[in-house]
C-alpha cells in the first residue's frame, strides 16, 4: 500500500478504534494526561510515515500501543524532572515496563478499560470549558483528527489545536489523573461526561437541519461515545438512558425535514422513514436502564418519553397519558420551564386544550420563558383549538418575530395564516 491518501485513511480508521486505549496505556505510564496525548499522537504520526514504507502491520493496534509506550519510556529516561516526579508518586515500577514479558503486557491490556474510563472522566473534567471538553473528548476518546473536529464545528484546525493545548495545561494545573471518580464525586462527574456527549449530539442534530452530513456525523460520534461509555460503565442507568435518547432522536433524521429544508413536526412525520433498527437498539438500552435502578434520572425519563413516541406506529396511537406522567416525573428531578411547556403540550393531547392552557398561562405569568419563541407558539396552538382564532394568530405572529431561524419563522407565519387547528410539537 503506497498511495499516501489510502494509508492516511487506513491509519485514521485504525486510530478511531485504538486512540483511547493507546492514550490510556501511556497515561498509566507517565501519569500526565496531556503528555500521554502528545505521545499517542506521535505514534499516530509515526504510523503515517512508516506504514507506506513497511506495509501495514499484522496487528495495527498493538503496533501503535507499543510504539507509544516506547516513546513514553524514552521520554521518561531523557526527562529528569519527569522521572523524579514519577518516582515521587511511586510510578517508578511502571516505567520499567519495558522489561515486562509479553504475558504481563497482555494482562495490562485487559485492565485497560478502567484506564479508558478514567480518561473519559478526565477529558470531561468540569475545570475545562464545554468547548474544551468536547474537543478533547473527540480527539482523545473518539480518535478524531484535529482536522475532522475543526470541520465538524465549522472552525479552523488551529483554533481546535489551541483549545486542546489549553485544556491539557488546565488538566495538568489541576492535577487531574485517570483515576475513576468514586463515592460522592461520581454522580456529578458522570453528569459532566453525559453532558459533553449530549452537547456533541445536539451539535450534530442541529446541523442535520442544514443537511450538512459532515456535521451530522457528530450524531453518530456521540452515539458511539455513549455506547463505549455504556460498555465501560454498564451499571450506570443514566448512561444507557442517554444512549437510548440519542438513538431515538437520531432515528428521525430522515423524517424531520421536507425536501425544501422546512422542518416537519414530530406528529406530522412519516414514520416509515424512522430508522426502526436504531429504535430497536434504543429500546434495548432503555430496558437495561430501567432494570438497573428504580429511581429514574433525567436522561432515562427523557428517553422513556421519546420511546412513547417511538412505540406508536402512528401519531394517533400515542400514549399521551403516559407521556404526561413521565413529564411529571421529569419535572421533579429536573425542574425547568421548558419541561413545564412540554408537559402542557402533552396534557393538551391527553386532557384537552383547556387544562393545558392554564399551565401555559401560568408560565407566561412567571415570565420564565420570555425569550422562548415556542411559548407563544404553543399558546397559539391551544387558543386555536379552543376556537379563539384572533388571539391565536397574534401569538403565532409574536412567535415568528422572536425566532432567527428562517425555516421556523416561515412555519409560524404560515400557521398564523391558517384557518383550522394543526397538530403541533417540536421535531
Amino acid at each position: 500500500m503506497t498511495d499516501p491518501t489510502q494509508v492516511q485513511r487506513t491509519v485514521e480508521g485504525v486510530w478511531r478504534v485504538e486512540a483511547a486505549k493507546v492514550t490510556a496505556v501511556v497515561a498509566r505510564l507517565v501519569g500526565d494526561i496531556g503528555l500521554a496525548e502528545d505521545l499517542a499522537q506521535d505514534a499516530f504520526v509515526q504510523a503515517l510515515e512508516q506504514w507506506p514504507r513497511d506495509g501495514l502491520p499484522d496487528n495495527p493496534g498493538a503496533w501503535l500501543t507499543s510504539t507509544a509506550r516506547r516513546r513514553a519510556i524514552d521520554r521518561i529516561r531523557r526527562d529528569v524532572n519527569l522521572r523524579d516526579k514519577l518516582q515521587q508518586v511511586g510510578h517508578v515500577e511502571e516505567y520499567r515496563v519495558a522489561d515486562l514479558a509479553e504475558a504481563d503486557f497482555d494482562q495490562a491490556m485487559e485492565d485497560i478499560n478502567d484506564d479508558v474510563l478514567g480518561l473519559v472522566f478526565a477529558a470531561c473534567h468540569p475545570v475545562l470549558t464545554a468547548q474544551a471538553r468536547i474537543s478533547l473528548t473527540l480527539r482523545m476518546i473518539g480518535g478524531l483528527t484535529t482536522r475532522e473536529i475543526a470541520r465538524a464545528f465549522l472552525t479552523t484546525e488551529s483554533t481546535i489545536g489551541q483549545r486542546i493545548s489549553r485544556a491539557k495545561k488546565a488538566l495538568r494545573a489541576d492535577g487531574v489523573t485517570i483515576e475513576v471518580p468514586s463515592g460522592a464525586e461520581l454522580a456529578p462527574r458522570l453528569a459532566s461526561v453525559l453532558e459533553v456527549i449530549y452537547l456533541i449530539f445536539n451539535e450534530g442534530y442541529a446541523a442535520t437541519s442544514g443537511r450538512d452530513w459532515v456535521r451530522g456525523d457528530l450524531m453518530e460520534e456521540a452515539i458511539r461515545l455513549g455506547r463505549v461509555l455504556s460498555a465501560l460503565a454498564p451499571r450506570e442507568p443514566e448512561v444507557h438512558g442517554l444512549v437510548a435518547l440519542m438513538e431515538i432522536q437520531a432515528s428521525r433524521t430522515r423524517a424531520r425535514m421536507a425536501p425544501d429544508g422546512a422542518p416537519i413536526l414530530l406528529l406530522d412525520q412519516d414514520r416509515t422513514r424512522w430508522d426502526w433498527s436504531l429504535i430497536r437498539h434504543a429500546l434495548t438500552a432503555l430496558d437495561r436502564a430501567t432494570q438497573l435502578s428504580g429511581i429514574r434520572g433525567p436522561y432515562v425519563l427523557q428517553a422513556a418519553i421519546a420511546a412513547c413516541h417511538a412505540g406508536a406506529r402512528t401519531a394517533e396511537e400515542t400514549d399521551w397519558a403516559r407521556i404526561v406522567a413521565l413529564y411529571e416525573q421529569l419535572r421533579q428531578v429536573r425542574p425547568s420551564p421548558v419541561i413545564d411547556l412540554n408537559l402542557a403540550v402533552a396534557m393538551s393531547y391527553a386532557a384537552g386544550p383547556a387544562p393545558a392552557l392554564s399551565v401555559v398561562d401560568r408560565l407566561v405569568e412567571s415570565g420564565a420563558l420570555a425569550d422562548y419563541h415556542l411559548l407563544p407558539s404553543v399558546r397559539g396552538d391551544l387558543l386555536r383549538k379552543l376556537g379563539r382564532e384572533d388571539e391565536a394568530r397574534e401569538e403565532f405572529r409574536r412567535a415568528a418575530a422572536m425566532t432567527d431561524n428562517e425555516a421556523e419563522r416561515d412555519l409560524l407565519l404560515r400557521r398564523a395564516a391558517e384557518e383550522r387547528p394543526r397538530r403541533s410539537l417540536t421535531n
Binding site: 485514521e12 442544514g210 443537511r211 460520534e221 455513549g226 455506547r227 460498555a231 425544501d260 429544508g261
Partner: protein
C-alpha cells in the same frame, strides 16, 4: 456509515453444525469488542438453506423452490452490521474477525456498504445550499476572530 459483513457458508453450516466451542467463544469475544467500541449494530446467523426457499418470477408468476439450494455456489451463513466512520475503519474491523472462524480457502467475508439517508438525499436545494454557505461564512469569520 453502516456496513454489512456477509459470512460465507458451506457444507458445515449447511449441515446445521453450530461450530466448535472455540469458534463460538471467539465470536462472542469479537462481538463484545465491537459492542464495547460502539460499532455493533446487529449480527445474526442464518439457518441452513434446507429451511429456506428460493422465490423466482417465471412466466408471470412466483415460483417457490424449497431449499436446500444444492446448486447454489454462494451460500450465506450469516451477517454482521457495523456502524463506523469510514470504509477503512470497516476493513479494520473485518480484519479482527476471529481466526478460528475465518473463511475457508476460496471463500471470503464480503463487506458491503448499506445505503443511508445521505445517499438518497444528495441533492441540496439551491435554498439550502445558500443557507449552508452563509452559515459557513459566518462561522469562518467568527473563527478568524479567535
Amino acid at each position: 456509515m453502516r456496513f454489512m459483513i456477509i459470512v460465507p457458508g458451506g457444507p458445515e453450516t449447511e449441515s446445521g453444525n453450530p461450530g466448535t466451542e472455540e469458534q463460538y467463544a471467539d465470536m462472542q469475544t469479537y462481538q463484545d469488542e465491537m459492542l464495547r467500541a460502539g460499532v455493533h449494530v446487529d449480527g445474526q446467523g442464518l439457518h441452513p438453506t434446507s429451511k429456506g426457499a428460493l422465490v423466482s418470477w417465471e412466466n408471470d408468476e412466483w415460483v417457490v423452490t424449497d431449499g436446500p439450494f444444492a446448486e447454489s455456489k454462494e451460500i450465506i451463513a450469516g451477517f454482521s452490521i457495523i456502524e463506523v466512520s469510514s470504509r477503512e475503519e470497516a476493513i479494520e474491523w473485518v480484519k479482527r474477525w476471529p481466526r478460528s472462524a475465518a473463511p475457508n480457502p476460496g471463500q471470503a467475508l464480503e463487506l458491503r456498504q448499506i445505503y443511508s439517508a445521505e445517499d438518497f438525499d444528495a441533492m441540496l436545494s439551491p435554498e439550502l445550499r445558500r443557507r449552508e454557505e452563509q452559515l459557513r461564512e459566518a462561522a469562518a469569520r467568527q473563527a478568524a476572530q479567535g
